[in-house]
Symmetry: C2
Subunit: 136 residues, 2 copies
DNA sequence: CTAAACTTTGCAATGGCATTGCACTCCTTA
DNA sequence: TAAGGAGTGCAATGCCATTGCAAAGTTTAG
């Protein structure tokens, strides 16, 4: 397990500090998108700004992507190993309004519609709100 | 013109105060989604909280919908006259990363994808970022 | 082996935006 | 015309993202 995490970091040329290993592990275990506050709560004794900067580093190296799910707090979720956060990597996110958890629906790719003349798309953020399978 | 605005309010049973007429007019004229700060700047001498509450009233009566375009500030845009802000009324929003303006693409309805088993959709927020036709 | 240079971390602000309590004004209505 | 309710303005408050600065840790050059 630890090897998998370290490999993920190595793959993206990010130095494996203790904090980074922990944050990455959390994101892998939870298997959903987490906010800064949620992550902080999972650690108890880590500083929020350190986690923030850890996540920033992760973003810059395509380890995580940020999700704006309208909850007020930005959520962070793991990227796939071959992700470069391009339009093609964008996928639908699902916010359950009951349990308040946000999931990546990686198997549900976004179909970019035909835009009006002169509009060009660089990035898509498609959020669906509803009830998730465990809350049904 | 003024009649059109007053009618919109009457249609939704919202009393036409001076502030409400002004805010509604702004939203009609700009033909795009505006943030609270943008609206405040257009008036110079109106209080932000008054505009906020005006917009809240508008939302509650399906006159405007709020858009989370990831800019940090919520944007507000006019609803169609027959809108009840249901899933069917949801449409794509476009944020131009050059001029920072957000538009409703009402002619580009959202196609809701097939969700994984057990997931049910109630609301969709589909935002596309890119370059708009006037910035191309 | 050691000192300098750089990176990471923790603490303590700061700033932006949404939201609300309270008092004042205005408008409606009995 | 007085009372009640609706609308407005001002001044907080709170939440979240972000950053400056100094301490601690790590790497590198000599």
């Amino acid at each position: 397990m630890k090897d998998v995490i370290e490999n993920k970091l190595k793959l993206r040329s990010v130095k494996p500090t203790a904090m980074r290993l922990l944050v990455l592990q959390c994101l892998m275990e939870q298997n959903r998108a987490l906010s800064l506050n949620e992550l902080e709560a999972l650690f108890e004794n880590a500083d929020k700004s350190t986690i923030f900067r850890t996540l920033k580093t992760f973003q810059e190296n395509y380890l995580v992507h940020r999700i704006n799910d309208g909850s007020g707090a930005i959520k962070y979720a793991l990227c796939d190993d071959d992700c470069i956060c391009s339009l093609e990597d964008n996928h639908i996110h699902f916010l359950c309004t009951k349990c308040e958890k946000t999931y990546c629906l990686k198997d549900t790719p976004i179909t970019t519609p035909n835009l009006p003349n002169g509009f060009r798309a660089n990035f898509a953020n498609y959020l669906i709100e509803g009830i998730c399978s465990t809350c049904t």
